[in-house]
Amino acid sequence: MRGEQLTDHIDSIETSVIELLAHRVPADIKVTAETRIVGDLGLDSVAVLDFIQDVEDRFDLSIPLERVAGVQTIGELCVAVQTLKRDAR
């Protein structure tokens, strides 16, 4: 999966990010773009950073910690991924 070619379309990014969360959060938690990463998912701060690493591997990019700190929702994370992918070109 690492670095696979994915489109920059925000819906595609969101689908992939939500897939990555599947094994980390209970099945009864419905994840959407509005889901808050800290608070709604039951993940502690280390688990959140491990999830971010999964996202980095999937999209073959590094998300700086200061960028992570500014992200609250899954949707905001997806926008950050989209921006970093475009900047990397």
Partner: protein, 413 residues
Amino acid sequence: MALLSKFDDMRAALQALAAGGRNPFDVRFEKILSATEAVLEGRSCLLFGTNNYLGLTFDETCISASVSALRAAGTGTTGSRIANGTYGDHALLEQRIAEFYGKRAAMIFTTGYQANLGLISTVAGRDDHLLIDADSHASIYDACKLSAAEVIRFRHNDAEDLARRLGRLKNSAGNCIIVTEGIFSMLGDSAKLREIASVKREMGATLIVDEAHSLGTRGKHGRGVCEELGVESDVDFVVGTFSKSLGAIGGFVVSDLPDFDLLRIACRPYMFTASLPPAVVGSVIAALSRISTDASLGERVRQSSGKLYRALAHEGFAVGPEPNAIVALKMPDREAAVRFWNRLLDRGVYTNLALPPATPGSLSLIRCSISAAHSDAQIESALSIMIAVGRELGVLDSELKNTSAPAPARVRA
């Protein structure tokens, strides 16, 4: 809204912890008897959670040197070195620690925390990139917050992941600075420094290694994992502490970097805090002299911790990935860890309770640290108590058992 309401979750977590017996963050010893024993709740208790790896806190030579320095130069320096000046022993300790590591220069700090905070935040500037191991100590994370550099985590001890992340930066301006540790403080695993140093050479980065838990316990001369793995010449800065193997408090950085002394007027955690007091500097100079000339303490702690690690693994405990002066027992969950820690204290063994999010992989750990000052009888006693409590609480042969733990045939070899 109350000022501290932001910590409501923490308050609830602390209350839940304390409901399990004691508050693990507020253990109060009534008396310290030696490097390995204290009085707690009115009775003697074995200390297996102090990071006093070489047991030098009660070393007569260190105490005498400390008392002499106290008498000669007073109880404190009452300020920073840039304002109040450098005492002779500050300069002497810097010379001695640089000589110990075979480096050109050293800077000492008031704590090990400040050494990381100061070095990392100062050398990593606005256009630079810090690449830190994901399991880094809080002082490294806090240093990153203080730095203006971009901060990227690489997967724990994964040189390939580090190389990938450095590769993504190849067209970026600024320096790439890798930060890792010799031994990681929670599980006691050591860094794959050969692989990391190789990546550093190939990609042209700077390498900082924190040897807080490996000074005195690893390497032929006690210089840590960098020495043991033969990568000292690849490491640009070694960070360490005086508060563990050297039995006092304080931190240091050593380096061959030209103009290293420029940091003294650029590094705020060095410049704007009081310098180490004479009594501390005196004892650290004596402790450093001891480990420079006596390798037996390091050998002793390696033997004792290896013995304890193998025996615990043999009994079915899920232990950390390798024997070290830190021996971590993985508990099935937070509640089991709290119960285990309390039962050990009930029976007179003090260890560290380490819980998420302070632990890697959200593990709940009983973290033991072994000292060269522990007698064979003390190790046997602690081992027996740990096994008894493990059986009582049903945490032996847990699913967390590390597959890399030694096979039973090798136990007690």
